[in-house]
Symmetry: C2
């Protein structure tokens, strides 16, 4: 850090994104939970048709997109805030609803960005260990003071809580906000969006990056009570009022206008998840029950980091976390059937099994 | 604000963007300093050709775009950080280089977002009055402690300082950072980019929103010493690593590959600025000498807000600021010759002159 850098960030450790290799040919990329399917032609047309007036600012209120998201989830438009990826809505939530008097609470094993957001915003935080089987126990959060962040399904485990458990937490203490990060909910999880109609203290965050094949477009959103969204808008208009570019906003509408295509892709991913999980279990891997577009697994037969390295040698990139409790595990995104077959083949090869 | 909103923001007053009317037909929009010219066909192709792989995350390092910006300005790529509009690089600079021990210093009349960024980040700030003629005196900043933010050319005045004056400030105190916001520099100002090669304590911020017809794409950047850019990258990777979507990053390269088109548009805007300034002065207006794509003017014959309202009735939207020292002034973006002729015609009409 330079001598000019504010000392308030002296302890800040930035987030490390998954590798984004520039030369993708002959690589199978299963490391950042992207969709293997391109956006639909119909939704792409919305972006392309919106390039003409790019000399004008994008709509800071994102009226058309916000309305479309609201319609999709049967909530009022003023219960929705669209953001530059869901990282932005999560950061806004840390900014708005945590501070030195109001710490952040989240699991020890969850989205690695939460502690970074807390540090960035000078917020104290407490990490609450998942159980030995990586399950999250809601009772560990009740009775503690602070704003709760729960990824549901969780990353990198893929394990999901039922909505009733989240509701129990939200209802138990109306004085604190519960943020539910539903980045992966479309692959079999149970969404809490309808709770936002009944509780003033829940914010649900979702993204177009996973089930909607739009990671490159950068689009996320939050759904919550009008009051919470108004607070988050205060942050947005004090940070970057034109946070979403016109092409992305237009294509977001296009994607929601073509839900059939994206829902079918989610079903395919879930089928490929079943296939991959079964094959790995047959090879002796421990594979957690996933409701996400990735699986989390380990094996007594090979160390997690070694497995990651061996797969990479064979042109398959997965994610390994150098972190306590996780070092023997790898997270593998679910791609096309063809990719998953190649991945299983490579795994057999690594284990010395007859291919 | 909701009862959940952090008290640290209790004084926060968000920025108010200029009006973005949704129904633009028959309106002449001269209120947000956009370019009246669409992006070139050549640069648009770059965005359209990059829609295929939108299911993959954008490159968090923005390698191709960063390299292209670096080549354009003859600096090293690690002296460049691309951001989601120049508002993002400005906010990052407030985050990184100001804090409670290191206040922000800026003019009383300048880009209205600076005090918002300061409040957002809990940074004390001092506003230093421009002279009565709206000129900025560098000697008002020398000898004061704090990080300086100077818009050059300034907004909403359009007045510019020579590079030598900025250099004097940068050289005078190597212990503090000087941020030069050059959003409007391509319309006749003198850029300080080359100072970044010689001084470790200057950050130059620019944008694609004005001279490059890409306000809707949201693209800005900072150029500074490697150490300053490394600090700003620490902020970026702790905020939103994938801050720029793939379409915008690709089109940014396309725009810089087609500079001839955009430079010609800047010359046209400067010609139209001369035309508009002369016509207004002939009508008795005071018009400041502008080096930007807008002019700032007042008249003894009509109050600033009344003038704004009368223009709006005639389908022409300009910007009026309800702020001390500015209430009798209006800021008018420079559009096409046709728009400026219509604007002058409307002004004559308002003043009761024979049209």
């Amino acid at each position: 850090m330079s001598r000019y850098f504010s000392r308030k960030y002296s302890e800040l450790e930035p987030y490390t994104p998954g590798e984004q290799p520039q030369n993708m040919e002959r690589l199978i990329k299963l490391n950042t939970n992207e969709s293997p399917f391109p956006p639909s032609e119909k939704s792409l047309r919305y972006a392309r048709e919106n390039t003409r007036s790019l000399n004008l600012y994008s709509d800071p209120n994102c009226v058309a997109l916000t309305k479309k998201i609201a319609e999709t989830y049967c909530v009022d438009p003023d219960m929705v805030l669209a953001t530059n990826g869901s990282d932005e809505i999560l950061n806004f939530a840390f900014m708005a609803f945590t501070d030195k008097d109001n710490p952040a609470l989240f699991a020890d094993i969850t989205y690695g960005f939460y502690p970074v957001f807390a540090q960035l915003n000078g917020t104290p935080f407490e990490t609450i260990p998942l159980k030995d089987d990586f399950s999250l126990c809601i009772d560990d959060y009740t009775g503690r003071k602070g704003t709760v962040f729960i990824a549901n399904p969780n990353a990198p485990t893929g394990m999901a809580l039922p909505k009733s458990e989240i509701e129990r937490l939200v209802a138990q203490d109306p004085d604190r906000v519960v943020v539910v990060d539903e980045a992966y909910v479309d692959f079999g999880g149970e969404s809490c969006v309808d709770l936002t109609m009944r509780y003033p203290n829940i914010l649900v965050c979702q993204t177009f990056s996973k089930s909607r094949s739009f990671a490159g477009g950068r689009l996320g959103y939050g759904i919550g009570s009008k009051d919470l969204i108004a607070d988050l808008n205060t942050i947005k208009y004090s940070t970057n009022p034109y946070n979403i570019n016109s092409m992305t906003a237009a294509m977001g509408v296009g994607i929601l206008d073509d839900q059939g295509y994206y829902s079918a892709n989610c079903r395919t991913i879930m089928e490929n998840r079943v296939y991959t999980t079964e094959e790995l279990r047959n090879l002796g891997f421990t594979v957690l029950d996933s409701k996400a577009n990735f699986i989390f697994m380990s094996s007594n037969r090979i160390d997690g980091e070694d497995y990651y390295i061996e797969l990479k040698k064979r042109g398959i990139i997965v994610r390994h976390f150098n972190k306590a409790r996780l070092s023997n595990w790898c997270r593998v995104s679910i791609g096309t059937r063809e990719s998953m077959e190649a991945y299983i083949k490579a795994t057999r090869d690594i284990l010395g099994e007859v291919v």
